[in-house]
Subunit: 444 residues, 2 copies
């Protein structure tokens, strides 16, 4: 399901309901670049601290332009009827036009059960102003990364024109506090700069005349946002005057103290709503974090750091601190590249740990008895088959994970145990380097 600014609010409700039901989540991201120079590329000689420093630099330099999140839910063949009933009850409140399709499609489900996949492809762009909150983002780009995306039919216009905005909690909160202080202050805080001394003098003369007059509203023309800020601030020191921004001017109006208090309360309400809207895609990552589900990725270190840094909070300077914070943010991480590289039964069989190469092989084999995976009916119509579209890559990562666990001669046989138990050997170990199958065991 492709998600843009237009359908985001609706999709967010659907995502919230679906993540509560799912068994695990697969993620993938597309970025505007990876490493600034050869020297800053990860090397197998890196210590973990050096690696963290390199990754942190990459994450802080480059942007995320697409986030794929695919929810996988086990549908038991025998219990299917019950689960659908429960799901329908949960979803009942939403005005979801495609919801009715579930029963028909699932009615044909096999008795042994299957994984149902819901791939979301979120296009994200850091808007410089959301609901009146100005937050201009700077991000680096690498021409090779853009060319890689172009080779995979990426739509750069959709990214900029329709990308879902985002703003981290602490940035939103900082801006909220600044605005709140402006709204509730009764003190003049801003000293006009040299160029605006005359503007302020003229305005104060006009304001004095207005206060003494019988007029109820004064319309005052302004040339720029700094002048508007000055006026709002000057008027805020009068407790029986209020301001309203208009397109080409500011309206100053008279009212009782209680009317003004009410007016300010309304402004605060609007501010809080704007801040909430400005958070945008961060709400998805909040839900992902709160769900405490296993999160699967392929060679996922950079994706995890981007998710943390762009949509949660700034990366700590020290690796140990990051690991502690990560254990709170996403407690269970599983890297399919690490599974492949560290399991000789798998690596030998396929001779590659590249998702591009191994995912189609695993998919072809799936026809011959491996775990069954189906797209949720609401996701079949819009399902992309574009490798390196983040939603599709997340789907392929999760599907490959399921198939690797079920693989004859793979994970299960290697450990001579059931796949569910073996899984624990792979938790929070992230792939670092192909040559030596080094990994990063996250502290938890």
């Amino acid at each position: 399901m492709d998600v843009t600014r237009e359908n985001f609010e609706k999709v967010l409700r659907e995502f919230e309901a679906a993540i509560a039901q799912c068994d695990f989540v697969a993620i993938d991201m597309e970025m505007t670049g990876l490493y600034e120079s050869k020297e800053l590329q990860p090397s197998r000689l890196d210590t973990l601290d050096e690696r963290y420093a390199k990754l942190k630099r990459s994450v802080e330099l480059y942007g995320v332009i697409q986030v794929g999140v695919c929810l996988f839910t086990w549908v038991d063949g025998h219990k299917q009827g019950q689960r659908e009933g429960a799901a329908a009850a949960t979803d009942g409140g939403t005005d979801d036009p495609g919801g009715g399709a579930d029963e028909t499609a699932n009615g044909t489900g096999d008795v042994g059960g299957y994984y149902e996949a819901r791939p979301f492809n979120f296009n994200v762009f850091p808007s410089s102003s959301v609901g009146g909150i100005a937050v201009d983002a700077h991000f680096g780009c690498k021409s090779s990364a853009f060319e890689f995306l172009a080779r995979n039919s990426f739509d750069f216009n959709k990214w900029v024109y329709q990308g879902v905005p985002y703003l981290r909690t602490e940035d939103a909160e900082r801006i909220r506090k600044e605005r709140m202080a402006m709204l509730t202050s009764r003190q003049r805080k801003i000293d006009a700069d040299d160029r605006h001394r005359e503007f302020v003098r003229d305005f104060e003369v006009a304001l004095g005349a207005f206060v003494d007059s019988g007029e109820q509203v004064l319309r005052y023309e302004t040339g720029n946002s700094y002048q508007r800020k000055l006026i709002h601030n000057i008027v805020s020191s009068h407790d029986t005057l209020g301001t309203r921004g208009r397109n080409d001017c500011i309206e100053i109006f008279k009212g009782s103290r209680s009317a003004m208090a009410k007016h300010t309360a309304q402004k605060i309400k609007t501010l809080n709503q704007n801040v909430k809207n400005a958070r945008g895609f961060c709400a998805v990552i909040d839900l992902l974090s709160a769900a405490r589900k296993p999160v699967v990725g392929h060679n996922m270190l950079l994706d995890v750091l981007h998710a943390f840094s762009k949509f949660h909070r700034p990366l700590p300077a020290r690796r140990e601190e990051f690991e502690r914070a990560l254990a709170q943010f996403l407690p269970v991480l599983i890297d399919t590249k690490f599974i492949i590289e560290s399991t000789p039964g798998i690596k030998d069989r396929y001779g590659t740990s590249s998702l591009d190469e191994i995912a189609p092989m695993l998919e072809r084999e799936a026809g011959s008895g491996l775990a069954s995976i189906r797209l949720h009916p609401r996701f079949t119509r819009s399902a992309s088959r574009n490798m390196h579209e983040a939603g599709y890559d997340a789907y392929m990562t999760g599907a490959s994970f399921i198939r690797l666990l079920k693989l004859d001669g793979g994970v299960s046989r290697a450990a001579e145990q059931s796949s569910e138990l073996v899984l624990y050997r792979y938790i929070n170990k992230l792939h670092l380097s192909t040559a030596t199958a080094k990994f990063w065991a996250m502290a938890s």
Copy 2:
């Protein structure tokens, strides 16, 4: 005329012929961002050195995505017939399908003469690999700049998918020298790293067997570009062996010393051609610089620095050095914003020096007797009317410049001289700040 990768070579020939004939050139650029933060924005308190440092930082941080170059040529009503004959003789060699349209359209030209405009809108993207030359570019973006472009219908897909590549002379030359050394060296220069010791050993065994055998060609599979580099280098020490890159392998073949010398000469020829192609859009700026025509821009400081830095050579650390180099690069610069801000007769009349605002006013007045400007017939069909499309902005800048010079009560009256002489008061003075009409008088 919109220029992309597809029509660039053809347009370059047309541009080369046209710039030789023109009287002046107007330029404009669209960038991926302006300033990193408020602190780095130009301030009217800057010294010239501080301003240069701020602008240099901006130019080195952000990318250029569109360059508008509009050529203006005075067509004398009386001499029109002669000029057309000469132009036809010059253009005769090109297979230009639209060329025939000139005579019909110009046949209606007024006797007093007019300026003929040829606006080129070059879409440019720093390709990471042009003709086998790898040069991955890093550039910053500001989300507000992308949103500004989006509000003006900018096509981001055209930029990435079809943008004309570019590579500065000295970068191209550095790469050419590196490659040339590789091609002509008979010494093994690369020491394989630890991971590739075994690869090198295996290859040398295979190569020894091949040399001793009756085979003429050895196909050797490689996994990555580093392995291919190693093989090319190992083989280069044998003066009767050559290499050819293939998609999935390298071919090593036998030949006489003279055949190998011929093979190397062919490779050098291809390399030189690739380097020439890789320069791409820089060829346009070379022609602009070589033409020694006046170059007009609106608030053009950033544009001039971008043109220098992206398409000519890196910006010098010190301002004085930049000014000396600029006098060689583009000796005559005229800033319409400086003309407006420094000429009370103009500033008072229009009350603005913003191109968005003043250009349409000047255009409306043009109907009532100001200088006549026409698009060259080959440029009318594709002429954009999108403000902030670089080609259109360059056209509007040049047109405004002509109209400002002819303006009754404007430039001419202020100086009580003919506009042609007054012009010299404005050469190489670039607008710095609206509030004080400060300017940068370039050393020349």
